[in-house]
């Protein structure tokens, strides 16, 4: 029997340019995405070394992290953000890199536009100076976030130096209950593994509950792999994947596409491939989830109580647990259901694709938001925004009192004006609930787009199963 390999190992091995004793592997990168925040110092480095971009056609740039979500046609007001976006413009022009700038029909959050434009394909290696690059793994590729020094490596040589991570398989089998989304699956897994439980691993998601998900939902799962410490996550490609890619702007077309699909069908782990760790979960055990603390591992079923100090799995975490609840203004042992929220943020690379917006619109159609909440819907890309308008979702949002804004990272990390004020509670479809993530002293509850929509209607943390 030939050596049994995981999908991860197959893709990795096919991209090693050089592997030498004592050195990390030099890994060839097929697709590189950059944005305004983590690239300027890398371009600076190239200038200082006097080198050009090795293969500019393999890098795509967009402006997303600190762009305003209103009046994008006007110059950015905030001077530092404007400077960063202008620097990106200059760097892309100087080094010959394609840029989807503000106002461009392809602009958007870097991890939304890659798949949407057909730039993200199975079997590739993909990197970006952003940890949620793991999103692209939903297409059956190796995608991971890198630091700015590594961005410079890729620009200079189209390679990064990497040590091969360990592999983990997470299988989710069975049928999901009504009202339970991909976001709940991943929040559930992270709550089981903790915020560091997958550190050092690359995760492959498998099982019929994963197979039955749409591409959008698979991206939500892979997106948050990093929230349990994993370098990335991937899902073997299948018909769902090929159908999604077919006909997209930069995807291979016609015969080339058909030929590639035949190759992509081979992209799966061998039956007896060995993983360093295999975990299995039952889809039936997953309920709508919500986080109560300040790391994404602090999640519970929405109907559960917040744990008490004595219930912690790891007693060494007592101090950070108490600090976290104090920050959140929540009592150990109390219920989270019914807790009033002030803001609802529907956006980010986790949940701002057209499918997410449709789900939300579907739930709020004919309803109105509660008076105590402000609701921001921030589409993941210009294409998502246009599609939403075409489908009339904007009318539904408007009637419900939701603000449909322009694409960008927005309140996911509060680098632009979209910040949650100090002390306020925001139920958010994004991926991080760290202290101050959505603005200084902001308080974040991470949840699915349906749970966020439900909270928008009721003004408080709600079990969406009572509404669907």
């Amino acid at each position: 029997m030939p050596q049994q390999k995981t999908l991860f190992d197959k893709i990795w091995d096919a991209h090693v340019v050089k592997s030498s004793e004592g050195h990390p592997d030099a890994l060839y990168i097929d697709r590189h995405f950059i944005h305004e925040v983590t690239s300027p110092q890398a371009f600076d480095g190239l200038r200082k070394r006097g080198v050009k971009v090795f293969n500019p056609a393999r890098t795509t740039a967009t402006a997303d992290h600190n762009v305003p979500t209103k009046d994008q046609h006007l110059p950015i007001k905030e001077a530092l953000s404007r400077h960063q976006v202008e620097t990106l413009r200059k760097n892309c022009a100087e080094f010959g890199v394609e840029l989807y700038d503000l106002g461009h029909p392809y602009q958007g959050i870097v991890h939304i536009i890659g798949p949407e434009l057909g730039l993200t394909l199975p079997g590739m290696t993909i990197v970006c100076g952003d940890s949620h690059t793991s999103t692209h793994g939903a297409f059956g590729n190796i995608a991971f976030g890198i630091g700015t020094s590594e961005v410079e490596q890729v620009l200079a040589t189209q390679c990064v130096l990497q040590y091969r991570p360990k592999t983990m398989k997470i299988e989710v089998n069975g049928t999901l209950s009504k009202g339970v989304l991909a976001k709940d699956i991943i929040l559930y897994i992270i709550s089981k593994l903790s915020a560091s439980g997958a550190t050092g691993y690359f995760v492959e998601y498998a099982g019929d509950a994963i197979r039955n998900l749409s591409m959008e939902a698979r991206m939500t799962i892979c997106n948050m792999s990093i929230e349990m410490g994993a370098r990335g996550g991937l899902i073997a490609p299948d018909e769902t994947t090929f159908n999604y890619i077919k006909g997209r702007k930069f995807a291979p077309q016609g015969e080339t596409f058909d030929r590639l699909v035949e190759q992509w069908r081979q992209l799966k782990s061998d039956d007896n491939a060995a993983y360093d760790l295999v975990l299995t979960f039952d889809a039936a055990d997953i309920a709508p989830m919500i986080t109560y603390g300040t790391n994404p591992g602090m999640g519970i079923k929405v109907t559960d109580r917040i744990p008490t100090v004595n219930e912690l799995k790891d007693l060494s975490e007592q101090t950070s647990f108490s600090k976290s609840l104090e920050y959140m203004g929540l009592e150990p042992g109390s219920a989270i259901l019914g807790k009033a929220v002030d803001y609802v943020f529907i956006g980010s690379c986790t949940n701002a694709r057209i499918e997410d917006l449709r789900l939300v619109a579907n739930m709020v159609q004919g309803k109105k938001k509660a008076d105590n909440v402000e609701v921001w819907v921030v589409p993941g890309s210009k294409q998502v925004e246009n599609q939403a308008r075409e489908e009339g979702l904007d009318k539904i949002f408007e009637a419900a009192g939701f603000q449909l804004r322009q694409p960008g990272c927005s309140a996911c990390l509060g680098m632009n004006e979209d910040k949650i004020p100090a002390g306020k509670y925001c139920i958010s479809t994004s991926n991080r609930n760290f202290e101050g993530r959505q603005g200084p002293k902001s308080r974040t509850f991470l949840a699915s787009p349906l749970s966020a929509a439900a909270a928008a209607i009721t003004g408080k943390v709600t079990d969406v199963r009572s509404l669907v």
């Binding site: 110092q41 600076d44 200082k48 090795f54 700015t148 390679c159 991080r432 760290f434 200084p440």
Partner: protein
Amino acid sequence: MSKEKFITLKSTAVPLSIENIDTDQIIPARFLKATTREGFGENLFRDWRYNSDDTPKDFILNNGTYTGKILVAGKNFGCGSSREHAAWSIYDYGFRVVISSFFADIFKNNALNNALLPVQVSDEFLKKIFAAIEKNPATPITVDLSQQKVVLEDGSSESFDINAYKKTCLTNGYDDIDYLLSLRDEIRHFELVH
């Protein structure tokens, strides 16, 4: 590009006995708008150090008792966002070593790429370090990269792992890009045949 060479460091340390310190705390997102690598130290742990009106808070970096080039932190240090600015800000503030019982992957890489040495010790030894500093804030800690050892004043020590390649880079002050640039012909060849 040549960086400072790292051999051995003997210094007092700043203890930060909190777990899961994420890079959003190390350097909040709103300070990521610079386009150079310098000057981030000022905003290291900004929201833990200062109130919104810029008045200092009761935080260890504002407490003159603890100083030095070594930061000692609880487990899972540097989790969250991949921002390399976290490593830059710690370095720019003046630290050269971070000791913890566990590091997030990307942070560890970023640190190593910026001449900041992440030293992973056991939970027990970390406790011991915290206790030693608490007892005497002026206690020196020695981080010996060539021997891969952390030594406390009472003579107790623990060895730590570091990849041989990264160790060579740190001791010689060169980086990954220098190595990759030397492979350019092989990379061109790889592109042609794949």
